[in-house]
Symmetry: C2
Subunit: 502 residues, 2 copies
């Protein structure tokens, strides 16, 4: 490589590294806002976020970055990783220079305030108090899409692209059509069948004990507590504050141990991805997931495919019984497995069963499309939500706290994020097909609580690539296939036909 | 005011405000490092700190700041607050421009690593593991003093100046001489007397219950939990992360409830100062304490003058008995008061009684002076510590964890900080003289758990001034006196002569 290219490349790495540090610092400000920040601290926190986001934006979109990217781009001697890095940075640069500094800071400030307002509004079941923030966040999102050139009806495509690069709303709709149809049908069939006995899951499970159990559980799955931690937040999430500082949160319900357990497994799945990123990408923009849906494929693979399987509970039930002898001591594996997989339309997405879960996501996707097409006014969201729940799941929330205020995403302006959850289910099941080919005793390993082989496969085929491949390319590389809902639908139908004797 | 002055002033406020935000963000990175950061996260955290400190330094020391400070300085129409702000900023600017950017970042990076190494070394009682960091921090401190023009023997004066502006090591030594003499004498007299019965304080006090009690206690003292919180750390501290985000920490010992109680009161005293800063100074460099010793005057006033008084326990003992009925239910007020004020030389500064406390500080001050004069090599610190403890307190630590590794300060490079603790005692007792003049029923108010009058006086005379006055000027303004050890010595001698029947 030419001397100048080497120098340019070093400087580019330096700029990228500093911007990543600023992103991680913003993540800490956010993590803290959702876990430990005193109630009155949110206004100043929003200012701090605005400043940090602004500094990062300023640094990255400087003309220097643009010139460096141009200067090194054509050098054929670049390493494969550097080629990928430059492609990713160029894409980001092209988008970011279109956003004025002032817009970025204001957006971060508004986000901080909106998120705090949402938490309060949700607690107080007060949609009216959140509405002005929702409008603000919608305007910022619309404006952002516009800056990027996604005008009019295409605004939502621009937002989707943040989370799932190169996927349009129409493409999402295409995979959601069969999903909606088949899951709704399955749900109806199940509704006609008797439910398993699950009373033991509504006994009293003390929070302190749940905490101890979840801490044990995450470590048994492979979570390294020297490189991360578990906290509590209103909405469970994973935060990557550094290569060796990956934090997850959960929430505890006294009379529902599965809530904290499945949240812990779900977030651990995200954490494994972050913890598994290779050292060669550390500190750069490639040290990230391929996309939000690929990230969700990991969390939902662990939560559902593994965590809700009979094999898994063969391993975990005896452990759980040690923590909760009075509550679970006399429960059999089959009874527990059936209870943990009870299908029953419910109001809260994060607590939903595997069958109805994607329908929750489809509702949000449809509402988001309507919000951005202008068909749905923000004021009308609560009513549209109730109607959508009735149509899709046959039940209706009595309060907005259990309805349109339940999720944090819109308060953060993360429109276009929700589809990732259902897409993650699809990617996850496509990966599972491959996993079963490579690890024929997949179920037996899970029964033994031995997850090393699964981690190894995921590390090699998913984690190690970081953000080097687009989701489409990664899927092609790993599965030699395009995105499809078939493996997911097949899996769901087989599992629940069996469970409910359909 | 001229139009240009107004514009310049606005810009100056803006720069100052952004630099303050960056300082608060660094504070969060530090707070988190001491409370929740996973063990392996320290290296990257140090990089994040280096970046933020560097950005703040770069922003503040830009030529623009210098020009603005020059431009507005002579305008006689400046408000009183702005005049004070500009004086404070000029002082800071004059110091900061002498420090190269690279030095500031490296220092912050080294601090982060050193602090983590100290925590580990202390836990493992391994001074050798901390020694290289101690040397690094000493070198940074020496270099910093040198940049400021404090060369040779005057290096330590330069460091003292960070915490107690315009006070030299000789001035500190002057007030410490009578303190050392009189406290040592009192300690000897007490040693000849029988100790009160204090066995009930070594019963088992469950940590969860101590936590609940301390949370109640801080609120009864006036801590607003909407604007702050209580956490746990190896070394109790107070952190001001924003005007409405003031966090304190404590630590819990199962068989010593007084440790967490007095730490909570001490840190609450710091928090009251921060919470009480007036809105007119918010977000600027004036929103700070006058000096570290003035800050300590607040924490030690609450911890000792109030918290260790008989009046205070008349109010608090019944509350404590509700939390710990089995441990304290049958303890009388006089027995508790005597036990809580037991004078007994001990190894840990933060757990020390009022009489021996300042001697712990004097030991550290003398060691620091020797370290900077070159008489003491860092390698010889453990031995010098043991000898110093023997000379001053008649006892010797068996481990470095209970000796020279007990305090966090040196690991953060905070040489020159320790004297503040003893100076804080002196300031605090001078303020108390004034408080007693204004509030004749001071003790009765405390007996009732009514702290509103005390807060009001402190707000008016101390908090509301923020950093607008130097410690010397503030003392002169409030007490019309110079710094003196007499009120402190008189108070200590009277209180403990009475308690021990001397």
């Amino acid at each position: 490589m030419k001397k100048k290219t080497i120098a340019d490349l070093n400087r580019l790495h330096e700029i990228d590294g500093e911007c990543r540090h600023l992103e991680k610092i913003a993540e800490l400000l956010n993590w803290d806002a959702q876990t430990y920040l005193p109630p009155n601290g949110h206004v100043e926190r929003a200012e701090q976020l605005a400043l940090i986001e602004g500094l990062g934006h300023e640094k990255f979109t400087s003309s220097e970055t643009g010139e460096l990217l141009e200067a090194v781009a054509d050098d054929e001697n670049l390493s494969a990783i550097d080629k990928d890095l430059i492609r990713v940075l160029k894409r980001k640069y092209k988008q970011d220079i279109k956003l004025p500094l002032d817009f970025v800071s204001s957006c971060a400030r508004a986000q901080g305030l909106s998120q705090a307002a949402w938490a309060k509004a949700r607690q107080e079941n007060n949609f009216a108090a959140f509405l002005p923030h929702l409008k603000t966040m919608l305007n910022f999102a619309r404006k952002k899409a516009e800056y990027w050139g996604f005008t009019g009806n295409r605004a939502y495509d621009g937002l989707l692209d943040i989370y799932e690069p190169d996927m349009t709303a129409d493409e999402v709709a295409d995979v959601f059509v069969p999903l909606k149809e088949r899951l709704s049908l399955l749900l109806k069939k199940i509704a006609a069948k008797p439910q398993p006995e699950a009373g033991f899951l509504t006994k009293h499970f003390p929070v302190a004990e749940q905490k101890r159990f979840c801490t044990e559980l995450m470590q048994r799955l492979g979570f390294d507590v020297n490189r991360g931690r578990l906290d509590v937040s209103a909405h469970p999430f994973t935060c990557s504050l550094g290569a060796h500082d990956i934090r997850i949160t959960t929430r505890y319900l006294k009379q529902n141990p599965l809530s904290s357990i499945f949240s812990t497994i779900h977030e651990s799945g995200h954490a494994f991805y972050e913890m598994g990123l290779p050292d060669s990408l550390r500190g750069s923009s490639l040290a990230d997931g391929a996309s939000m849906a690929i990230h969700e494929s990991q969390s939902r693979l662990w939560e559902n495919v593994i965590g809700r399987s009979r094999s898994f509970w063969k391993f975990l039930l005896p452990v759980a019984q040690k923590f909760f002898p009075a509550q679970l001591g006399d429960v059999s594996l089959d009874d527990f497995y059936k209870a943990a997989n009870q299908v029953q339309p419910s109001l809260i997405r994060t607590e939903a069963d595997e069958v109805s879960y994607s329908l929750h996501v489809i509702l949000r996707f449809e509402l988001e499309r309507s919000l951005f097409s202008g068909e749905l006014a923000p004021e009308a969201v609560p009513e549209a939500w109730r109607q959508g729940m009735k149509d899709l799941l046959g039940i209706e929330p009595l309060s907005d706290a259990e309805g349109c205020l339940q999720d944090i995403h819109w308060s953060q302006g993360s429109f276009g994020y929700f589809p990732s959850y259902a897409l993650g289910n699809l990617y996850g099941l496509q990966f599972r097909e491959k996993l079963l080919e490579i690890i024929p005793d997949f179920e037996q390993q899970i029964e033994r609580g031995d997850f090393a082989g699964i981690h190894e496969w995921l590390r090699t085929h998913i984690y190690s690539w970081g953000k080097r491949r687009s989701p489409k390319d990664l899927l092609q590389m790993v599965c030699e296939k395009k995105l499809s809902s078939k493996p997911f639908i097949d899996y769901i139908e087989a599992k629940y036909s069996n469970l409910y004797g359909l």
